[in-house]
Amino acid sequence: MKAGPPKKALQFLRWFCREDYIEEIEGDLTELFNKQYTSSPRLAQSVFVGRVVNYFRPEFLKSLKNSRQPNSYSMYQSYIKIGWRNLLKSKGYSLINISGLAIGLACALAIGLFIQDEYSYDRFHRNARDIYRVVQQQVQAGELYHVASSPGLMGEALKADFPEVLKSCFLGYKRSGVLQQGTITVESSAITMADPGFLKMFDFPLVMGSPDKVFTEPNQIVITDRMAANLFGRDWMADSQLLGKTIIYNRKGGEGTRMDELILAGVVKEPPVNSHIQFEVVLTYDPKADNNDNWLSNNYLTYIQLNHNVNPADLNRKLDGYIDKYRSAANGNFTSPVFYLQPLTDIYLHSDFDFQTDWTKTSNIVYVRVFFAVGMIVLLIAVFNFINLSTARAIRRAKEVGIRKTIGAYRSQLMTQFLAESFLITGISVVLALVLVNIGLPFLNSVASKSLTLPITELPFAMALLLFMVIVSLMAGFYPSVYLSGFQPTKVLKGVFDIRSGRRFRQILVVTQFTFTVILVAGSIIISKQLSFLRDKDLGFDKSQLLYVQTDNLSKERAQLLKSDLQKQSAIMGAASTSNSLIDVINSTVGFEWEGKLPEDKFLITRLNVDPWYLSTTGMKLISGRNFNPEMPTDTTAYIINESAARRMGWTPVEALEKSFTLHGVKGLIIGVVGDFHFRPMTAAIEPLVFSYMPSRYYSGIMVKAGPNRVKESITLIEELYKKYDPVISAHFNFVDQKLENQYQSEQRTGKVVFFFSLLAIFVACLGLYGLATFNAERRTKEIGVRKVMGASVINVGALLSRDFIYLILLSIIIASPVGYLLMRNWLEGFVYRIELDWRLFLAAGSLPLVAAILTVFHQAVAAARMDPVKALRSE
């Protein structure tokens, strides 16, 4: 028998080749094959395969329209058509389904955009994956602290000691100052310092200048393009002589102002919004500055770039105890800190460092997670609506399913049909959701202080959206399609239909929906309660009409003169020098001794340098002893401590008086004890604190208490008087109460978002409930008719129809309360000072969705009950 050409190749050819060509091509190929087969069968086989492959090109391919299975293609068309007709047939349900799903999708999309933005931080650097920040854990007075900064010698030493470290660089802390160029002065509060490695490691491109030449000389300065426009005018780019120009930098610092003449070495592009490093001006790193060329002070942020294939965990292991090698030589008295690497891409979301050592822009992963959960919940509620309505209304499709099955449809085909319908509805919802997001983005941007856009034209976004759509369609459509396609044709066509089927499942979904809703509502109530608790809590001082005026631009003498000028004004009730703004005071030390201290006893004490007017200006209360007295020269070595400090040192407020206390070698007596007051956010307990009165030491500003209703006047006075002492820079001041509130910005933001989303959740859940209730009423039209004829009132019938739903929602409240309690207790535990969780809170939280649900269901039930029973009973 003659062997034919290879079967597989022939099948392949027949599969792809155009119908009108296959006759000729296959014929010719077979003829050629047969000719060659007689001489060399094996060669003929492989040549045939090669030739077939040769035909696999556009000219010979089947067009996609006349696909291999024209049948199933037109079936899909028909599914969509039938789906569309079903949508139009019951417009009410379609509206509920689509609007609910659109809201859910819009929430998920908006939150998705937000999260994507949060995760995009610092990923624009080409070597982002290989860059790490060197951070440390320190033990101070028995407590573990995380510190973001590191010793000045760290970077170079790491590079020298470990071959896997490719580059290193420093970044100084953020400071403010004034730049002067000709007659133009510009203030900046984003001035930092960097070494030559900075621009080589990070991708902040230079618009002008070369990365090899910047930061090489001590007096070089690099500014952002925006700063260049401010200093040199809009046309700064046109100036070919720009580099090398002199800029005068007024340095703000503890010891008055200092003017430096700096040479402009480069103009760098403004850092993108999604960079944790934000700056306007970069000065050249000077190792002597801030006493940074040693192993003891931690003043700068150190970044290193590892070789591409290095595992950071290996280096982390080597860093354990690494510093001992250098520090033991310098000073052996400290507990060794443990250094470790923090990946660059983790910095924005996963930074929680003590002592304000991390000045960079950071967020909090917890809130990202909360937002994610909230967005998913709203979406889930909408998806459950879809499932519930499709299965509840199954009876309407049962006949169709029966007929289709009788005619010969497979179950899989029916499933495909119902999935196609869910795709259709999801597709419409996605389009609507995009419109909603577009409308809602400005609101989201203002709450989240971001500038998100809808990148609809970008391919990755479109792909993600498509994938998302498919997932949601499957989530919403899978169960209904299994359920609907499972009907037995003999039963449904006979009209035997178990009305109760799937009811339990629907009830579970409704309970889940309302459980989530109640949790969201409880969450937003508790967040707002806690926030108002924080706002109204007695801080131990009077924050109202209290202003903090920065004076670190002024010399010590001028600041003193300004203070006494302010004190003379009748509009101002008090003015006092201070070393801190009273907002999150971080200036603690273990360098102190007290009478009766045991050698090992150590703790951190926060120190504030103030003056005798401080207590009266801030309204703090002495509980024993006396205030500083400006007339008594010995008071400049006296101390006032807070109640916590007295307790920690083992004294009652009265016992503490006249005890000796030595701070950084300055020995003095404790003359007073002040009542505890909050100088840190409520997430921290009140810790020991000591006031000193050392006029020769550093003061950062003046606390000013404005008279009642004379705040505006006081502000004008502050501005005018300040101008007297500094004609160049205007006064910088802030309201203490505002600043205090700003500390809880992310909590407020979360509260707003959770509140908004819980409203949406209630709305979407009630939408679904409305659909179910309507359906229920329709189904029971006859029953209602009979009941009314027998004398039931509208209220009776309404109650009958609502009862089941009310039970479900009550059940949800019962389930939601303990879950919500645990979740919110977890959140509240982050605050040392917090509200007590009360069961009544959950009752209140439950009542809101409950009332909404009762209104929804009852309205529908009453409408059904109002119907003329004659009509209902006649309908057959």
Partner: protein
């Protein structure tokens, strides 16, 4: 030249179709070309060229009878059209007239 273009390989196939008048189909054309050109020719290339010149209207085709050799598939025969013939004539004219202009060159 005419608005219709004719590629080099297409021209060869068209010539072959014309030469094999009424007997031309894929395999015969391929063999004829291989013999004249003295090199291997790809059958798929022949088919592409045939489809193209048919689209351009230089040849027309018809199906022949079923033969044992072809696994039950019919042959597709190609015949040159009047347009195709005119095209070949024009091509020939052009080439010939330019060729004649070549001065006598000796490549000693």
């Amino acid at each position: 030249m005419a608005q219709q273009s004719l590629g080099e390989f297409e021209e060869l196939v068209l010539l072959m179709v014309a030469a094999l008048h009424d007997e031309a189909y894929g395999v015969i054309i391929l063999e004829g070309l291989e013999e004249k050109l003295k090199k291997k020719v790809n059958i798929s290339a022949v088919h592409v060229a045939l489809k193209r010149i048919e689209d351009k209207g230089f040849v027309k085709s018809r199906f022949g009878g079923i033969t044992e050799d072809r696994g039950g598939r019919r042959k597709k025969f190609y015949v040159i059209t009047a347009l195709g013939k005119r095209m070949l004539d024009a091509q020939y004219e052009v080439r010939n007239s330019i060729y004649k202009q070549i001065p006598k060159i000796s490549f000693g």
